[in-house]
């Protein structure tokens, strides 16, 4: 009980600290924070799909769907981004559900492969309407949310990310969430209890893709410019890596994974070309030393210390 209360308090403390961010962070760091918020949203929404047993290797494509939908509506039709962003999320949701029908009845690895290729295919579709999408040169002059100061964006993305995390957390710990998890365990057991497996999977996929779309739409109206190159193969793969390295078993895993791994190249700017080695190093360290992911580092350290103490006590006793 005490542990839970301590956790809640530290969480509240963290949130308060985040809200005070602009007081001691200057513009450039507010910008980095916005990007981290977006990637936390993306990785957490990826996890929302993962808990039903589907590892999507094409998640960035749904960020693209949300971004392009919202950007094109706002730029070409003149609608306000406050309207088009939710529409971007819905477009991504629809996309997710539509491919869920054929994909969600596939076994784990086949689903991953299908999502991989689907993800790559989506970005090539800009060629279908080059005037509207800007083709491979990208879509520019997208109406921004707040003009060019960073502070409003910081608060906006902070609030949206917190809301997203709250909603995803509640879903995961509700009955629906239990159903998602049971479906991931066994193909037969769940259906034997009368659960519509494919339907549940599609629901999980839709939830994940919706928030990915929101994140994408937000990004479009923050950066003012999007191009297909930003949403291709490697970004999707990196989201999966953030999830797995952060810790796939816990809700906070993707948050930690996204925040740490995304920031490494920025922190390591001094090392220029060598920066990716640090990323790779962290990944290797995680899978060899902390297989449960970075989120488990504190508890792993505690148990390791405990083992050392136990070992010492035993050797003294004998």
């Amino acid at each position: 009980m005490k542990k839970a209360r301590a956790r809640v308090f530290s969480l509240i403390g963290l949130v308060i600290l985040l809200f005070l961010g602009p007081l001691f962070l200057e513009n450039y760091y507010l910008h980095l924070a916005v990007l981290v918020f977006i990637y936390v949203m993306l990785t957490s929404s990826l996890r929302a799909i993962y808990i039903s047993g589907q590892l999507s290797l094409g998640h960035a494509a749904f960020m693209a769907i949300g971004a392009y939908t919202s950007a094109m509506l706002a730029k070409h039709l003149g609608w306000t981004p406050w309207c088009t962003m939710p529409l971007g999320g819905i477009a991504a949701l629809i996309g997710g559900v539509l491919i869920g029908f054929p994909f969600s009845r596939l076994r784990a690895i086949y689903f991953s492969m299908a999502s991989l290729f689907f993800g790559m295919m989506v970005t090539t579709l800009v060629g279908l309407a080059p005037e509207l999408t800007g083709h491979y040169t990208g879509l520019q002059a997208i109406p921004r949310l707040f003009g060019f100061t960073k502070v409003p964006y910081y608060y906006f993305f902070l609030v949206v990310t917190l809301l997203t995390l709250l909603i995803l957390y509640r879903i995961e710990h509700s009955r629906i969430g239990m159903t998602f998890k049971s479906v991931s365990q066994s193909y037969l057991a769940a259906s034997s209890r009368g659960i519509n497996e494919a339907g549940i999977r599609i629901l999980s996929l839709g939830i994940g893709t919706f928030f990915a779309g929101i994140a994408g739409a937000g990004y479009a109206h923050y950066a003012g410019f999007i191009a297909p190159a930003t949403f291709g193969l490697m970004p999707s793969i990196f989201l999966v890596v953030y999830l797995l390295a952060g810790g796939k078993g816990s809700f906070a895993g993707p948050i930690v994974g996204a925040a740490i791994l995304y920031l490494i190249p920025f922190v390591m700017r001094e090392f220029q070309g060598y920066a990716p080695f640090f990323q790779a190093g962290v990944l290797v360290a995680v899978i060899f030393v902390i297989p449960e992911g970075m989120i488990s580092l504190p508890s792993q350290t505690m148990s390791w210390i405990g083992k050392v103490r136990e070992g010492r006590r035993r050797s003294y006793a004998s």
């Binding site: 596939l106 690895i109 086949y110 290729f117 090539t124 060629g127 990323q279 990944l283 995680v286």
Partner: protein, 286 residues
């Protein structure tokens, strides 16, 4: 007309043979170790540059360079299997993260050493063959010949030798295989070494016929995953069919179709296969 078709056919066969050479290594590693080696594209690319270094600056000529490349990349494959893959067999997710870490290390290493410059080697054999109004580059035919010989040798090896049979056994059912006394570790090592060696060789061949650049790693990775999916995840024999389809798409679509259509076409086809018949042409249900 017939000459035109022959010209297209040679291109299709040459492209397919390169894809099959590289995809086989990937398929073998997956069948035997259940690991998707995402670094395979990078291995192919590095093999190409290794070959370049023997061939041009060190002046060892084509055949010695290709042989050395196969050897070196094969040894690298042994190293990979022992230290990077063996700890994570059967754990798809961890192996994936490991493979991604490998890709990052290999590509960054290539960026820093080879650098961004494109490199190319002179043709294996110079000259061309004119037949019926169409010109065939002799070096392309040579690549096709080399690839065919190697692939035939590999198929014979798998079918006729004990080790080859053991590979197929493990691919079919790893637990039963080890119960039968097959040393899975040794087979895995051999398979990984062969796969990397072939990929490296393919890189060298491509460097001579086309141009090498660090970016070809990603492109090839996507292609061979497509090949393996079309063939059927878990199938080794079907890789030639998958390679043929993929090679045909890549050699013919840019010619007959516009950019807008051919870009998504290959990818869409793979998605379609996965949806309609996930086990591909020859795979079995997993």
């Amino acid at each position: 007309m017939a000459a035109q078709i022959a010209g297209h056919l040679v291109n299709v066969l040459m492209t397919s043979s390169i894809y099959v050479l590289v995809a086989l290594g990937f398929a073998l590693v997956f069948s035997v170790m259940r690991i998707m080696n995402f670094a395979h594209g990078a291995i192919y690319m590095i093999g190409g540059f290794v070959c370049y270094n023997f061939w041009v600056p060190l002046g060892l000529g084509p055949w010695v360079s290709l042989a050395l490349t196969m050897l070196i990349m094969g040894l690298f494959g042994l190293f990979l299997e022992k230290f990077c893959f063996r700890p994570f067999q059967r754990d798809f997710e961890k192996a994936t993260v490991m493979a991604i870490a490998l890709v990052i290390i290999l590509k960054t290493g290539a960026d820093l050493t080879v650098g961004p410059l494109a490199k190319s080697m002179p043709p294996l054999v110079s000259g061309s063959i004119r037949a019926g109004g169409v010109t065939f580059g002799a070096d392309r035919l040579m690549v096709l010949l080399i690839a065919s010989v190697l692939l035939t040798a590999l198929i014979l090896f798998i079918q006729k030798t004990k080790v080859g049979q053991a590979t197929l056994a493990i691919a079919h059912d790893p637990d039963a295989a080890s119960l039968m006394g097959i040393n899975t570790n040794r087979v895995s090592a051999l398979v990984c070494a062969t796969g990397c060696g072939l990929a490296g060789l393919a890189g060298g061949l491509v460097g001579s016929v086309l141009v090498l650049h660090v970016s070809i790693a990603d492109v090839m990775l996507v292609k061979i995953i497509g090949v393996v999916i079309l063939a059927g995840i878990g199938s080794i024999g079907g890789v030639w069919a998958g390679g043929l389809v993929m090679g045909a798409l890549d050699a013919l679509c840019p010619y007959f179709l516009s950019n807008v259509v051919s870009d998504p076409l290959g990818l869409g086809l793979v998605v379609l296969i996965l949806v309609i018949r996930p086990q591909g042409f020859f795979g079995h249900e997993m």
